[in-house]
């Protein structure tokens, strides 16, 4: 056995707890057996000590109960304002959680941890406020009595007969960094009580005779001492484990509690938690879902029980199955449970017999190597009578269904009666078969209960109306009696079987629907092209499956965006946005049907993945009741699926951005290389020419002087064009290019471009042919001129100085085409496709040029909705073709009124 080695999982958990604790605030619980032992006093003393050490300690909520010595200790501590909540006309005071969070002190005092908040406060319970304060990194001092701990509630009731309603989960004890037990011998407490130091005079007597009896106090004291001892023991073990000190390592036990929609489950769950704590074993709860439906009340009870499991820190595992014993054992094996805890059965012997032994018997028989604990429930506690023996729990049918069954049988009987009077040859046997069919149909559509009713009614009416002697309940022939009895039995069996089949079918249908819904969600979101599609699909699917309005809020710079995603079907007002932000910040569900901010109209759930939070989903189901357990589980699966897909999309976007970034870095490098070369050539020319001109020793003729000056001039022109190109390029790349479209005369644009480049083109003969019917077209005059200038510049650079140039404007349907044809050397065919690429330069061309000009031209033409292509012409030279759309006709032109 490896008993000497710490279990890696629990080590890891301990380390995680430590890590989380470093950011969390520290929790100190002042813990006592009953009111009046001096917890608040001790807490205030400790706070005063912290204050004198220089800590920033404030009072969030302290109840002095008018005790003078306690009030005295409040002096010097900042008291935060209380929250006023209006509820049904009364104004209730509560601790103001937001004020404390905003004030953000180092330490806050919160008295009475088990307090239940007034409606309208954010959380149902004060301990939830405390958890939020701790999460915000604020230290908390708080007080609580032993009877408020969830796991002790039953024991306290057994000892004192008092049912405690204000409960605190035991997990708070685990969370506490320090527990201070305020102990006082029972007699001393009773003395204090008699002196009026605990309650006001009129309540003293009542209290002294009930709760504060010495016997009670002694039992509570023992409970408090034991709880403290257990806690200290655990701390020690944690310490030993973390420090790898060999010692009594935790047993390999693992407890599983079987939970059902029964009021007794609550106690069984608490018992399991206590047991697991003592054994230091992990525990979880199992729920087996059978095809038998649950009533509204049972669903509510089940939800409460499962909620209790979660509150006590357990995990809920569910499985579907017809046989509970089989399901429980299967889960126990899957999860390596060593012990199963079940409640003492409440079934009748008849049911035991029907199912082949009681649940416990069968569990014990089948679960060979698993220990079974049977915990009895406290029957006195539960006023609700157990089910009458004949009531059948699976029936979900309402009185309407029963009425429907009666009406159906009535109708069938009546029409049979009518038929029988018209065609007397229809025998009563045939009538019986037809009635049997009616019973089967009722079973299919209305369920088992109505089917049984229908069987009964049809049997009676058949006997009364059709079997000889008619219109009496008597039956004359013996074989008719047998027939009648068999009819009744067949109707009962057939009805029951059909209804059961139907229920199974519905269950199967439901399971299939659920699987389909999940599959559809997974599939649709996986194939969605972008984030918007993903969210639209998610909203549709969740809305469809839960018949709900759905809102999705995403993050914006690590914070929750204030606007819902446009695909949402649920509007989120400011108040509900507050709920959503809380959900996002705390990564816990809140809103309707939860313990936090339950007065909100919708429920909000965090969309989070193990690595981060990606948003919040809000849903408002059209149904009025809370979601069933099934639905909750499904919704949780949905939200985690949606969160994963959203994260995937976010990662995708990030990846794409980095690709774009890399590409732009590459272009940037190419650009720098290209530019530095392109800048240096004209700069060298300018510097060289200028220094020659300045140098007194260089004797220059007038002609060479002016040649040098001409060189400077053309170098400057070249630099200017480079700058223009770069600016155009950056505008095109940044998408900031805004076309200033106006009606333009293409011929005019060509004329201006030729005029601009008359020096570059020199003596080349240029022939411009513009088709006479060329319409005005919408262009940005300046940019289109830039296109032509760049193209002409190319002609100037790459064709012989005396070669001719033709510019032809042709009108096509919806298009105007401008061909610019030169008689230069052309471009190698394999390079043609690439000449419009950024920084591409035809191999073997002369130095100079950045490889930007043509790329800009194409960009500008495409910005106009046109195309720019190039091809070599047959006789040598090449043609650039610009095609520009000219679909709309320009508006008519008016003569001026002069």
């Amino acid at each position: 056995m490896n008993d000497y080695r710490p279990d890696p999982d629990s080590l890891l958990a301990a380390i995680r707890r430590d890590e989380a604790r470093q950011q969390r605030g520290r929790l100190k619980i002042f813990f006592g057996m009953a009111a009046g032992v001096g917890k608040t006093y001790a807490m205030l003393q400790a706070a005063q000590a912290r204050r004198t050490e220089g800590s920033d300690a404030v009072v969030g909520w302290v109840e002095t109960h008018g005790r003078a010595e306690t009030e005295f200790l409040l002096a010097g501590l900042e008291q935060l304002p209380k929250q006023q909540l209006e509820y049904r006309g009364a104004v209730l005071e509560e601790m103001d959680l937001d004020a404390i969070l905003a004030r953000s002190p180092q330490l806050v005092l919160v008295d009475e941890l088990a307090h239940t908040n007034a409606p309208g406060a954010r959380h149902l319970k004060r301990y939830q406020d405390v958890l939020e304060l701790l999460d915000a990194g604020i230290d908390v001092y708080t007080t609580v009595n032993v009877q408020h701990f969830e796991s002790r509630v039953d024991a306290v009731r057994q000892i004192t007969g008092i049912t405690v309603h204000e409960k605190v989960p035991d997990s708070l004890l685990d969370l506490a960094d320090e527990i201070e037990l305020i102990d006082l011998p029972p007699d001393a407490l009773r003395k204090r009580l008699a002196e009026g130091k605990v309650y006001t005079a009129e309540r003293v007597e009542v209290a002294a005779n009930n709760f504060f009896r010495t016997g009670n106090l002694t039992a509570l004291r023992e409970m408090a001492l034991r709880l403290t001892a257990e806690h200290v023991d655990h701390k020690l073990q944690d310490y030993m484990q973390a420090k790898r000190i060999a010692g009594p390592w935790k047993s390999g036990d693992r407890l599983m509690v079987a939970v059902s929609p029964s009021p007794f489950s609550e106690e069984v769950i608490r018992w399991t938690r206590r047991m697991a704590y003592t054994l230091e074993a992990p525990w979880f709860a199992a729920f087996i879902e059978t095809s038998a439906g649950l009533s509204e009340a049972q669903r509510e009870l089940l939800a409460q029980n499962l909620e209790l499991v979660r509150r006590l820190g357990g995990e809920v595992v569910t499985a579907a199955g017809e046989d509970i014993v089989e399901g429980v054992l299967r889960l126990a094996q899957q999860r390596n449970a060593t012990q199963i805890v079940v409640g003492k059965p409440l079934q009748t012997r008849f049911e035991d017999w029907r199912r082949g032994g009681s649940l416990v018997d069968r569990l014990i028989r089948a679960g060979s190597d698993i220990d079974i604990y049977v915990v009895s429930g406290d029957k006195a506690k539960h006023r609700t009578p157990l089910r009458a023996p004949f009531s059948l729990p699976q029936f979900q049918s309402t009185w309407r269904d029963y009425a429907g069954a009666a009406i159906a049988i009535g109708c069938v009987t009546f029409s049979l009666l009518a038929a029988h009077s018209v065609w007397p040859w229809i025998s009563y046997q045939a009538v019986g078969l037809i009635e049997l069919l009616a019973v089967l149909l009722v079973a299919v559509y209305l369920g088992r209960g109505p089917a049984l009713l229908a069987a009964l009614l049809s049997a009676i009416s058949w006997n009364f109306l059709f079997i000889q002697p008619r219109f009496t309940f008597a039956i004359s022939a013996l074989e008719d009696i047998i027939l009648f009895l068999f009819y009744f039995i067949i109707a009962l069996f057939a009805g029951t079987l059909t209804a059961r089949l139907r229920t199974r079918e519905r269950q199967a249908q439901y399971n299939a629907d659920r699987t389909t819904a999940l599959y559809t969600l997974a599939h649709e979101t996986a194939t969605a092209a972008n984030m918007d599609d993903v969210l639209r699909t998610a909203v549709e699917q969740i809305g469809q499956v839960f018949a709900a309005d759905v809102a999705i809020l995403l993050t914006e710079q690590e914070k929750l965006s204030h606007t819902v995603h446009p695909a949402s079907t649920l509007a989120v007002n400011d108040q509900e946005f507050g709920v959503a932000s809380w959900v996002f910040d705390n990564n816990k569900p809140a809103g309707r049907f939860t313990a936090t901010l339950p007065q909100a109209a919708a429920q909000f759930r965090p969309l989070s993945t193990p690595s981060r939070r990606v948003g919040v989903v809000g849903i408002r189901p059209q149904q009025t009741g809370r979601l069933t357990f099934d639905q909750e589980v499904l919704l949780e699966t949905f939200t985690s699926q949606v969160a994963l897909v959203i994260e995937r999309e976010l990662l995708d976007e990030a990846a794409q951005e980095s690709v774009v970034l890399r590409e732009s870095e590459r272009l940037y490098t190419t650009l720098l290389n290209s530019i530095s070369h392109e800048l240096r050539t004209p700069l060298a020319t300018v510097t060289g020419a200028a220094s020659s001109l300045l140098d007194e020793n260089t004797v220059l003729t007038d002609q060479s002087r002016s040649e040098l000056i001409g060189e400077i001039q053309s170098a400057a022109d070249r630099l200017n064009r480079l700058v223009e190109n770069l600016l155009d390029m950056s505008r095109l790349d940044a998408g900031r290019l805004q076309l200033k479209l106006e009606w333009c005369d293409i011929g005019d644009v060509i004329g201006v471009a030729l005029r601009t480049l008359r020096n570059v083109l020199g003596k080349r003969p240029v022939q411009v042919t513009v088709a006479p019917d060329t319409p005005l077209i919408m262009l940005d005059f300046v940019l289109m001129e830039q296109v032509l200038v760049n193209l002409l510049d190319n002609v100037g650079a790459y064709t012989p100085a005396d070669s001719s140039l033709e510019i032809v404007v042709m009108v096509k349907k919806n298009w105007v085409r401008i061909d610019l044809a030169d008689h230069g050397p052309g471009v190698p065919t394999d390079a043609l496709a690439r000449i419009f690429d950024k920084f591409y330069r035809v191999p073997g061309t002369l130095a100079g040029g950045t490889g930007l000009g043509l790329s800009i031209c194409r960009g500008l033409v495409e910005a106009h909705g046109g195309t720019l292509t190039a091809h070599n012409r047959d006789g040598g030279g090449m043609v650039f073709s610009i095609r520009l759309p000219s679909s709309a006709a320009p508006p008519p032109v008016q003569e001026a009124i002069l």
Binding site: D745, V752, L776, F781, V893, E895, A896
Partner: protein, 228 residues
């Protein structure tokens, strides 16, 4: 040496001011300088220059703003210097009362020509109402336009346009200015009128309408009648 015209150069770049000073003084101008809008307004008030060369981008305020403030009390001709061809600011400067513009980089020859045009428009209208360019003659007094000695038949709108250009010969006129003057204030955005009518005018007056020499298009700005 006789005192030539006074010119105020407003530009924040000292290199530009220096080369302009050298070139203009060599052409018998008296040059004042300012490096920002405030200084420009002060200098203009102090020296009352005959013409101002104003950069459109100044460190303390927009060139257009300087122009607007100047126009409150002086009608001194102003030539704007702009940086880019597609610059919308220069159109608004022209509409706000600037007389002309030049795009950097520009040649000194070009600047001197613009200065001459700007100064000429300050002089009272010449007695000679006949404008001649090459073989085209426009006689405003007789409302007669001839080319190679033959009368050119113009529509009333075409004539209104050519008359407007002749009155501002050498100077750029923005689309808005022309449309407002000829068609009226509500037509200032109908630039396609101009494309059509100037196309027609070129057909009638230019030797090669595809490469006009008389009526020049200023891309994105307007039109100019070549004056010299």
């Amino acid at each position: 040496m006789s005192e030539g015209p006074h010119v105020l150069i407003v530009d924040d770049e000292i290199q530009i001011r220096r080369f302009l000073r050298i070139s203009l003084e060599a052409n018998n101008y008296r040059v004042y300088e300012a490096d920002c809008g405030q200084a420009a307004l002060a200098q203009a008030a102090l020296h009352r220059p005959d013409v101002i060369v104003l950069d459109i981008n100044l460190p303390d305020m927009e060139g257009v703003e300087v122009l607007r403030r100047l126009r409150e009390w002086a009608s001194t001709p102003v030539i704007m210097l702009s940086v880019r061809a597609g610059d919308l600011d220069k159109v608004s400067a022209l509409d706000a009362g600037a007389d002309d513009y030049l795009t950097k980089p520009f040649s000194t020859v070009e600047l001197l020509a613009r200065l001459r045009v700007a100064l000429r428009h300050v002089q009272p209208a010449t007695s000679d109402p006949v404008f001649t360019y090459g073989d085209v003659q426009i006689d405003l007094a007789r409302r007669l336009v001839t080319r190679k000695g033959e009368a050119v038949k113009l529509t009333p709108t075409e004539y209104a346009l050519i008359r407007l250009l002749v009155q501002h010969a050498g100077k750029v006129l923005t689309h808005r200015q022309i449309l407002k003057e000829v068609w009226g204030a509500q037509y200032v955005d109908e630039t396609h009128y101009l494309r059509v009518y100037f196309g027609q005018l070129r057909q009638k007056l230019e030797e090669n309408p595809a490469m006009p020499k008389l009526i020049v298009t200023e891309p994105g700005v307007g039109y100019r009648l070549v004056g010299e």
